[in-house]
């Protein structure tokens, strides 16, 4: 195998890890709240802009006398987007659930769609369509082996993503709060009966989604820069991933993200790089045709 193909596979895995971060938040929110969050891509965008504002933008736009080191700005950006997620739950989604109405999820979905447009055009009118360059996490190219070199920022993004995925899996499977989240996803009334506050679980799900999308947006910001619709393509891929992995399946989302990353990279090499973003849709159509419950999805057993 030549180093070009190897580098494509490694790059595919790197993207897969980032995709997994985005897809995890989306799937957790969907499992707990039954809401497909169409503004998830804008959570990602906000992560990138926050990182930019803290590292380079603050100094450039407001002539602040200091810049925050990128590595410090990352957790701050994650926290900002997590708080934004909580605010969206509290301000926009919760009222939909507390007022008695038919099919609240559908109203909530339209709300998140509106929020997505609002945030994109909000960014367009306030900061403009320009691509912004935040500070770098790890400058330069790193030598891996032989002819394989990788950008430091990509390596940093991959390593941090892997850590965050591991932490998320531990949180969900290894802590009481995580088990309560799973329980709420599987039977909301059952969770309430044992004493879990389902509204608190909504808040935790949105905070987690914001945290992970904010991380993904920040980690890729030095690689792909930041602009108003930067979150569009990644979030569409995240949707493909949760269908491929099985709606609501956490391990499914991680595995499917890695598969999609590698498929995209290899298809770009062997077929055409111009169609890079199309392969995700081909995967989606294939899954829907041949395995509609996804790789790890559980077929509902209805009573």
């Amino acid at each position: 195998m030549d180093y070009y193909v190897l580098s494509q596979i490694v790059n595919g895995l790197i993207f897969g890890l980032i995709y997994a971060l985005i897809a995890l938040g989306l799937t957790v929110v969907f499992s707990i709240m039954r809401v497909v969050n169409f503004s998830h891509g804008e959570f990602y965008m906000l992560g990138g802009y926050t990182l930019y504002a803290l590292t380079a933008g603050g100094a450039a736009l407001f002539s602040l006398p200091f810049v925050v080191p990128t590595i410090v700005a990352l957790p701050l950006a994650m926290a900002v987007v997590a708080m934004f997620g909580v605010a969206v739950e509290r301000g926009l989604l919760r009222p939909v659930y507390t007022v008695r109405m038919d099919r609240p999820e559908e109203y909530a979905i339209i709300l998140t769609f509106g929020l997505s447009l609002f945030l994109q055009y909000g960014a367009l009118t306030t900061v403009g369509p320009y691509e912004m360059t935040p500070g770098s996490f790890w400058e330069g190219s790193k030598h891996i082996l032989g002819d394989l070199w990788l950008a430091g920022d990509r390596l940093f993004a991959a390593g941090t993503s892997a850590l965050l995925i591991a932490a998320t899996l531990f949180f969900i499977y290894g802590t009481w709060t995580g088990r309560a989240l799973m329980a709420t996803a599987q039977n909301r009334v059952g969770a309430t009966v044992v004493g879990v506050d389902p509204v608190r679980m909504n808040v935790i799900a949105m905070a987690l989604a914001g945290l992970l999308a904010g991380a993904a947006g920040s980690l890729l910001a030095p690689v792909f820069l930041v602009y108003p619709d930067v979150g569009q393509i990644p979030v569409i891929k995240a949707f493909v991933i949760i269908v491929l992995g099985g709606m609501g399946s956490i391990p499914g989302a991680v595995v499917a993200a890695l598969i999609l990353g590698v498929v995209e990279s290899l298809a770009s090499v062997y077929i055409s790089v111009a169609y890079r973003d199309v392969f995700a849709f081909l995967v989606l159509i294939g899954v829907l045709l041949f395995r509609p419950h996804g790789l790890f999805g559980q077929k509902e057993r209805r009573a």
Binding site: R100, W176, V194, G195, P198, A303
Partner: protein
């Protein structure tokens, strides 16, 4: 004593499903609430368990006011609610389901171990199936699992809403036997049921609701003799 007094409640402003209903459940007894479809039985337990806030009336447990408390506070107050629909976590194992019953004292590892052992002694079948996925159990076993999970908190009250609806008669009998066994262990039980015969058989005290109002109430013996006439009366034949 668990008391619901003068409850008026409904899901929309104009329609009151419950129009002034009062029920008292004595300690360590089974109180059955029966009535035809649409009489408001399920609405009554939803009000008692905090899933629906009443427009007026009070709910108290031994003098503690429960009116308007949140549904997720009930486990912490020692109240175990068994809703009509299935509430097991289908993709978790039986043991994971039961352990989640310990949510209100989740940081007390020693206590969780003790209670789990006690629950397994009460329900030996659950120990046998502890590694099965809850969703793979039969409907009756899922109901028993729900009761087992609820027993983790050592509740003082068990509130059952039609626990045997949709179950085969032989399995339904097992559920009623379980309820009677729990009463013998000192639990206060409020049983809402459409299975009139069983509800009267296990009940110490029986209430009959009709279109959101108390119709009659009395001890089990009063009902056993009049059952035939009463049913005729409900069906208006």
């Amino acid at each position: 004593m668990l008391s619901a007094h003068n409850i008026v409640a409904g899901y929309v402003d104009e329609i009151d499903i419950l129009q002034d209903v009062s029920v008292d459940a004595e300690r360590e007894q089974i109180t059955s609430v029966i009535g035809p479809n649409g009489s408001g039985k399920s609405t009554l337990v939803r009000v008692i368990c905090g899933f629906l806030h009443p427009k007026s009336g009070t709910v108290t447990w031994d003098g503690t006011d429960l009116t308007g408390r949140s549904s997720h506070d009930m486990a912490g107050l020692g109240i175990c609610y068994l809703p009509q629909e299935r509430t097991v976590f289908p993709h978790l194992t039986v043991e994971q389901n039961i352990r989640l019953g310990a949510w209100t004292f989740r940081n007390d590892k020693a206590r969780i171990g003790r209670e789990l052992e006690r629950v397994y002694e009460l329900f030996p079948l659950m120990r046998e199936r502890r590694r099965s996925k809850a969703g793979d159990l039969s409907g009756g076993m899922q109901k028993i699992l729900e009761i087992a999970r609820g027993m983790m908190i050592r509740p003082e009250i068990l509130i059952c809403d039609e626990p045997t609806v949709g179950l085969a008669p032989i399995i339904a009998k097992e559920v009623y036997d379980t309820i009677e066994r729990l009463k013998a262990d000192g639990l206060t039980i409020l049983l809402v049921d459409q299975n009139v015969r069983e509800a009267i058989r296990v009940g110490d005290h029986v209430y009959v609701l009709e279109v959101g109002q108390n119709k009659v109430s009395g001890t089990k013996s009063e009902f056993e003799t009049n059952l035939h006439d009463m049913i005729k009366d409900w069906l208006q034949i």
